[in-house]
């Protein structure tokens, strides 16, 4: 049972990682990067490393997203 859940998480992570390349909307791409980080932090809990999971969730999911969104809001779209 836990293996299927693991497999599902890995498929979600890989799918979103591949999707980032093809998404044209930059803001949506940043959100999908956050999804990859969140799934990675869940996987870290399963392999018994909660310290890394907390760090991944705070830095990968929160801090990186804030910095990317701020940078996007500060730049113009090339026309």
């Amino acid at each position: 049972m836990i293996n299927y859940f693991f497999l599902l998480l890995v498929i979600v992570m890989l799918g979103s990682a591949i999707a980032i390349i093809f998404i044209r909307n930059l803001l949506a791409a940043v959100i999908v990067v956050t999804v990859v980080s969140l799934v990675a932090s869940i996987l870290f809990i399963f392999i018994a490393s909660p310290d890394v999971a907390i760090t991944e969730a705070t830095i990968g999911a929160a801090l990186t997203t804030v910095i990317f969104v701020l940078a996007l809001s500060r730049t113009k779209k090339k026309t």
Binding site: P50, D51, A53, I54, T55, A57, T58, I59, A62, L63, V66, I67, L70, A71, S73, R74, T75, K76
Partner: protein
């Protein structure tokens, strides 16, 4: 010709990596199997008195590396604020966010800070520690600055806090040098009672310093990004 040299460089670097990594014992069986990890897990309680073995590795077994990490983060934040901070004063945006968003962020703010403080203070007992706790506290400040025009970061206060925390870290290290253990970042305080807040010697103090430093650093860096005069300014009609 350039491609040829690049190819030679890549092959040489690959050969170097393969030979070096091939000599590191990563064996899944035999006597080399995870010898360092097993030794640390067995000895950490007697050596350091910390319930969380990861913390004892980060702060005591490789404390000097952690000092380097903090320095790298400091330099990155410094570069960010140096690039983004203009000489002129930035005008505040003329519009304000919605009332519900603002009130919600004010409500959430103390709880997020409390959670960050919990992660920092219990770094040597439960998973977490100075780095993630500091980021959580910085996130609370991001939310407040993002949603409300009324709150201004007092950047001087933030940088003073950051410098004091960094100095505390180095002062604790030098105190270890002066004590009986006679080495930088040595655990010169008593181990205390196992699994209580004030146990494991200098680990809680160093993690408190790291937490304050990381939190104020990131708040200052991303705050300078919020207030930067460069880039597209949002218009009121948007």
């Amino acid at each position: 010709m350039r491609r040829f040299f690049s190819l030679i460089l890549i092959i040489g670097f690959g050969f170097y990596l393969v030979t070096v990594i091939g000599r590191i014992p990563f064996a899944a069986t035999g006597e080399a199997k995870g010898s360092v990890g097993v030794q640390i897990v067995n000895d950490t309680v007697n050596d350091t008195g910390a319930a969380n073995a990861v913390t004892s590795v980060v702060v005591l077994y490789r404390g000097f590396d952690t000092l380097g990490e903090v320095t790298v983060l400091f330099l990155a934040a410094l570069g960010m604020s140096l690039l983004l901070k203009g000489t002129e004063e930035v005008k505040a945006r003329v519009f304000d966010e919605s009332f519900i968003l603002k009130t919600g962020s004010y409500l959430l703010f103390p709880f997020i800070v409390l959670f960050g403080l919990y992660i920092i203070v219990h770094g040597h007992l439960t998973p977490g520690g100075g780095f993630p706790g500091g980021v959580v506290i910085a996130t609370a400040f991001f939310i407040i600055v993002m949603t409300s025009e009324m709150v201004r970061l007092r950047e001087n206060l933030v940088s003073i806090l950051e410098s004091l925390a960094g100095l505390t870290f180095i002062a604790l290290g030098i105190a270890g040098l002066l004590g009986t253990k006679n080495s930088f970042l040595a655990n010169f305080m008593g181990k205390g009672v196992f699994n209580t807040i004030l146990s494991a010697g200098i680990i809680p103090f160093i993690y408190a310093a790291i937490g304050i430093k990381v939190g104020s650093e990131l708040t200052g860096a991303v705050g300078s990004m919020f207030l930067s005069p460069f880039g597209k300014q949002e218009e009121a009609g948007e």
